[in-house]
């Protein structure tokens, strides 16, 4: 599904250049649930941004579902993001003046799905995350866990190839975090490929594979025994 070869990325900080990713090689198969771990400054967020086509790499190859991702225009990148990727952010990033349903329907709007169909589909995904009764509530009327579930529904609405979650539980207490992870595991069980960036050990262990980043290189990449979040809920 995802293939990365010798990926480099550096940032210019004034006259200094900060080398963040120093040759990443990494492959994700269909249906995997991968945790990317590392302390802050290890380059995990940068890697996720490049995977999410929000940022470009300096050198190296990136292939997503057989499509080479290189030198994309903003328009092309937006279309690819819409088609291939679903984003889940630490701070949820829901649009605060839109109801849960409208938030979930937004990626479908950019796919030019007709309004009625969009609403129906969005409602399906809201039901899936257990928030159907909250469909017409604004984000401000939802709890943190509920907001993240809306965000997950939104990320899935466009039926992307890969879900990218950047610290999805970073803003949640542990009980809510496990609820969210439970949902992510369920989605993965259905065969969806998911990448989770986290620095929390317990969250990482709820994935099926942990990739450890340190100072811009992968120091460890291992398959693990998945801890089911359901047992804590």
């Amino acid at each position: 599904m995802i293939e990365i070869k010798d990926l480099h990325k550096s940032y210019k900080m004034g006259s200094n250049s900060l080398h963040v990713l120093k040759g990443i090689n990494f492959k994700v198969e269909d249906g995997e649930l991968v945790a990317i771990m590392g302390s802050s400054g290890s380059g995990k967020s940068t890697l996720l941004n490049i995977l999410g086509m929000l940022d470009g790499a300096d050198s190296g190859e990136y292939t997503l579902d057989g499509v080479p991702i290189k030198n994309l225009s903003e328009t092309k990148a937006a279309q690819y993001r819409n088609k291939f990727l679903g984003f889940i952010f630490q701070s949820f990033n829901l649009i605060n003046y839109k109801s849960a349903l409208e938030n979930v329907a937004l990626p479908l709007y950019y796919q030019k799905v007709p309004r009625k169909e969009r609403q129906e589909k969005a409602m399906q995904y809201l039901e899936k995350v257990g928030l159907k009764p909250w469909a017409h509530h604004l984000p401000s009327e939802l709890s943190g866990g509920q907001k993240q579930r809306v965000a997950i529904a939104r990320a899935m609405a466009a039926e992307p190839k890969v879900l990218l979650a950047d610290e999805p539980t970073g803003a949640l207490d542990s009980k809510t975090s496990y609820e969210v992870m439970d949902l992510i595991q369920q989605i993965n069980d259905e065969g969806n490929t998911i990448l989770v960036v986290t620095h929390e050990e317990d969250i990482a262990h709820m994935c099926k594979r942990i990739v450890h980043l340190k100072d811009g290189v992968i120091v460890e990449d291992k398959k693990i025994e998945q801890v089911r979040a359901g047992q804590y809920v």
């Binding site: 929000l54 940022d55 903003e74 328009t75 003046y97 796919q111 466009a158």
Partner: protein
């Protein structure tokens, strides 16, 4: 077409409605600008209409010709000779100059601008007395308050009738007294009043205190023979008055042996000159109004652009999220430009409605007055369309500024923004 995309409009009204107060303040600039533009244009139009109203009934493409004294000796005549026209001149001029539409000869009793005593039942009025043809009414319309003006039958039968001014009526008759059919006496001759006219305060050629009698009656009653005092001449609308004026003067100079370079012997007054002056005055006024109005509008639209820039800055993160979810730069830009257009157009319409209301009030206050040239202050449909198109065009251009700002920030930076 995307313009009919319901979601686009929902998006736009969402964002605009989210901050009603700020949206309203933003629009205020454009509302004021539109009010100023429409009021200025409307007032200029009102002034133009006011002038037209004043001149209604006066043929604009006309001139008056009278005789004066020569200032050059010529063909054995000394200078200072008084030029007196004959009634036959009217026919000669009409025949030789086809551009003349109407030619109304007139004769005055006494010398030019003098008054004679008019009597009635022991009351006296010093009035100007004119012998006229009914055609004069086509050049300087009389506002009749009672009765009728002179007509062709009066001329043919040399009827002893007269039309008097309101001022004359006041001097000769008691208040409310019926004057029609009553006799007044001029130089011992009795004339029956057939009409009373109201002086036009604005264009006053004949004076307010005057008596008009048929030309033919004048000839007989006062023994004026074939003399003619002056001529009112209407020229067909396409021909410039000075062109005809020169021909008339050349013919008359030749006929009365006036030195070709003598400019003082024949007096004339070109009515079209006043009209042209006023027309150019009102046009300058309108042009100036447009100029001021458009710049005010520009300032208003810039204010909208400014607020949109702030909004875009505030919405950086939201725009980042949308772009992460698949909004292309084009979609983002389109939305902001359409927001600019909607704000401007709506504010413009509100401003238009307000100013039309103000113009209506202005019209009811001053529109009917005779003493001030102001009537029906309103902007014309082309003026409205031009200003509206201009306004929306400006808003598109100015909306591009915040729109480009919105997509300039890369989504990754936008998402990082807190």
């Amino acid at each position: 077409m995307w313009l009919f995309d319901r979601d686009l409009w929902i998006e736009i009204f969402h964002t605009l409605g989210k901050n009603m107060f700020r949206t309203f303040l933003t629009m205020l600039g454009v509302i004021f600008a539109m009010v100023i533009l429409v009021l200025l244009l409307g007032s200029a139009n009102g002034m133009s209409n006011g002038f037209n109203k004043i001149f209604a009934g006066t043929a604009s493409n006309s001139l008056f010709v009278w005789g004066q004294s020569t200032s050059e000796p010529y063909k054995g005549f000394e200078r200072g000779r008084r030029i007196r026209y004959k009634i036959e001149d009217a026919e000669i001029l009409k025949k030789q100059i086809p551009e003349i539409e109407v030619l109304a000869p007139r004769i005055e009793l006494g010398s030019h601008r003098s008054v004679v005593s008019v009597y009635r039942n022991g009351q006296t009025s010093g009035s100007a007395v004119y012998g006229d043809y009914p055609e004069i009414d086509e050049i300087t319309k009389k506002k009749l308050v009672e009765g009728r003006f002179l007509n062709q039958t009066d001329i043919e039968h040399s009827k002893k009738v007269c039309v008097i001014g309101e001022e004359t009526y006041k001097l000769l008759f008691d208040k409310g007294e019926n004057a029609i059919g009553q006799d007044i006496r001029i130089n011992g001759v009795y004339f029956a009043v057939v009409g009373i006219y109201k002086p036009n305060n604005n264009i006053n050629i004949d004076g307010e205190n005057a008596v008009f009698i048929p030309f033919t009656t004048f000839q007989k009653a006062f023994n004026s023979g074939d003399r003619m005092g002056w001529m009112a001449i209407a020229v067909e609308s396409k021909t410039p008055v000075p062109f005809v004026e020169k021909q008339i003067k050349d013919i008359l100079k030749h006929k009365y042996d006036i030195h070709p370079d003598d400019d003082r012997a024949i007096g004339s007054f070109d009515m079209s000159e006043i009209f042209n002056n006023i027309t150019s005055f009102t046009m300058v006024l309108q042009g100036f109004s447009f100029f001021v109005g458009i710049f005010t509008l520009l300032a208003g639209v810039i204010a909208i652009s400014n607020i949109l820039l702030i909004t875009v800055k505030e919405r950086t993160k939201e725009i980042g999220v949308r772009r992460a979810l698949g909004a292309t730069p084009k979609i983002v830009k389109r939305q902001i430009v359409v927001e600019a257009i909607v704000l401007t157009a709506f504010a413009g319409l509100v401003g238009f409605a307000i100013s039309v209301g103000i113009l209506a009030i202005m019209n009811s206050m001053w529109g009917s007055g005779d003493d001030f040239p102001f009537a029906n202050p309103m902007i014309s449909i082309p003026q409205f369309v031009i200003s509206f198109v201009l306004m929306v065009g400006l808003s598109v251009l100015i909306g591009l500024l915040p729109a480009n700002r919105a997509v300039k920030v890369r989504p990754i930076e936008a998402l990082r923004e807190e």
